[in-house]
Subunit: 401 residues, 2 copies
Amino acid sequence: MEFTIEKKLSKSLARAGVVKTPHGAIKTPAFSVVGTKASVKSLSPEQVASLGAEVVLANTYHLYLEPGYEIVKKAGGFGKFMGWNGPTITDSGGFQVFSLGAAFGKTISKISKEESIGDEVEEEAGKLAKIDDDGVTFKSHIDGSTHRFTPESSMEIQEALGADIIFAFDECTTPHASYEYQREAMERTHRWARRSLAEHERLSGKRLSKQALFGIVQGGRYRDLREESAKIISGMDFDGFGIGGSFNKEDMYGVVGWVNKILPEDKPRHLLGIGEPGDLFGGVENGVDLFDCVAPTRQARNGTLYTKNGRINILNARFTADFSPIENDCGCYTCSSRHGGVSYTRAYVAHLFRAKEMFAATLASIHNLYFIVNLVKKIRQSILDGNFLEFKNTFLKQYYH
Amino acid sequence: MEFTIEKKLSKSLARAGVVKTPHGAIKTPAFSVVGTKASVKSLSPEQVASLGAEVVLANTYHLYLEPGYEIVKKAGGFGKFMGWNGPTITDSGGFQVFSLGAAFGKTISKISKEESIGDEVEEEAGKLAKIDDDGVTFKSHIDGSTHRFTPESSMEIQEALGADIIFAFDECTTPHASYEYQREAMERTHRWARRSLAEHERLSGKRLSKQALFGIVQGGRYRDLREESAKIISGMDFDGFGIGGSFNKEDMYGVVGWVNKILPEDKPRHLLGIGEPGDLFGGVENGVDLFDCVAPTRQARNGTLYTKNGRINILNARFTADFSPIENDCGCYTCSSRHGGVSYTRAYVAHLFRAKEMFAATLASIHNLYFIVNLVKKIRQSILDGNFLEFKNTFLKQYYH
């Protein structure tokens, strides 16, 4: 993996660059779409590519349980398995293991079956995870069977899943944890980072892996912990960095800024699990290069659609006989003119949602992902053009009017 | 609408022809894919076109209830509403009205929620339909509200839905009905056919409709009734004919042959709701030009996939680590080589089904519809090539081995 910075801004930490992976380049800042179980829900890989996505992130925890990493390995990695030939990322498995074991507050949104089409709910199934210094024992949310992740097994699994970018195993705490527990968890994450790195080097040496390994900075919402974590993780030989999302939304920009002022400039930074429009600007301004989030597709499946004037819920009665596209000047497949100059209408998308037709999820997901992926591309362009702050102010004023 | 016959066989009633509609030609025999609620479940119109489909049939009953025919009319018809620019058909609404009001035995298959992804179950919700000579009063399966269809309202609704081919309103009986009831229902269907025709002419004169109207032959499994029905319906000025499916499977070929020997040769015949591979050969051999059926997509959503060696269930354990395509020499999107020569594997499709990913339904539906649509195309070619019977025998021997 190579990372080059094309332009840096002086008034903020924002920068535009390129991450080169064995499966192609990612122009950063970039939004990675999420294909949790080696499928971007309801979309073909061609639809994913045509909406402008450059990179897909899959979840180690989910693929480990289903279909199992040996199957994915035999298939040649999750990208090949799902027919995606571009760059790929897997997360460490940490977030899912812990989020299924503790109440994560608002970082995990529960969506009821009634409200969404084809949605898989992350159930808060009680305390299913048990942590010790060596690793985590957890129960599968599918069948309750017992499993164990360690830094070493996370590396083994992620090597099998075959992504271009993988993450060191970390403990992802709840933002409600005490300072004392955040420190304890952070220190454990540092020890696990060292073990992940060592195991990755051992596996790479043995198997010529070309995977880039990112270390994860934790420390909750505490400045001294975040700065300490950034310094310690920076000191290890990682190819890039992840910023773990254990903070409340209002603390995010502060946390990301503290961390990115310390992390080395010449390596890419991934803010894990964040993807609301406002947060993307805030993340970029504070030095983030990569984002991923299930919100655009999860909200799409609930009928919540993004427009530059804010979100709309397509199930609102006023759209029942509205024969305009979701957004008039949107260039996505759903909104743009197709054969004969006709696009899908709000009335049609609303009908599909009411009729519980699966194609509703496809059309809505394409629209929302196009919106977010291309918003980050526009942010990138504004950095190159030197008008990031104007673009940010104009966009956010209209979006959160 | 124009219908031309390109070739007729001498040893059977099979023929190859072309139906020209305002939205393009249908080369017959042809299989119409079903887009019940103005969506071929889980597929984009481009995916429908690229699998070889030439025509889409939507259900009058469903679109009348949801989103309502006024909405579809404002959208410019269901084809434009859903983004399908090719030929279109709507059924009369009769089958759904009656199938929701009576136990139809094996002509309606109940599929449980557990077995399928995104499937809408036709519930046998007791006697919801009440028939009189003027029409049918029925309750919506969605909200229990009361509605009424008459031959005149069916024409009005189908004109609003805007398909190229529409059907006269008919009474679709259960195959278990007595001879006496079949006669009574048939005679009512004949009266309704005349009223449908009159109303269609009135609407056409007033509104320059270019829709072709097909009359439906009923009469259950009784030869005298079917022959009487064929004669009477033939005597009316329809553009083509439908053969109602009120018979058990073992009676089908007989019924279809009796009817098609009487129906005028120069008009197309649609066998309603039939689409199993063996039945397609039997139908064509007995003079059928058009088919439609939800079986290929409904079975696809259950993981039942068609191959030339018969059906397989992709959830079978032996496919878990099977990295070959569903069918090796299949030309469908799912099976054929894409970028880099890799197709979706059985292991991947099986994983998607187990993981309840919506894209499972898309891949499986494309495969099954491609199989059926192209099987009928091959049957057509075998008629043109003069080797229909050989093709039939070879295919069926392998399929039902």
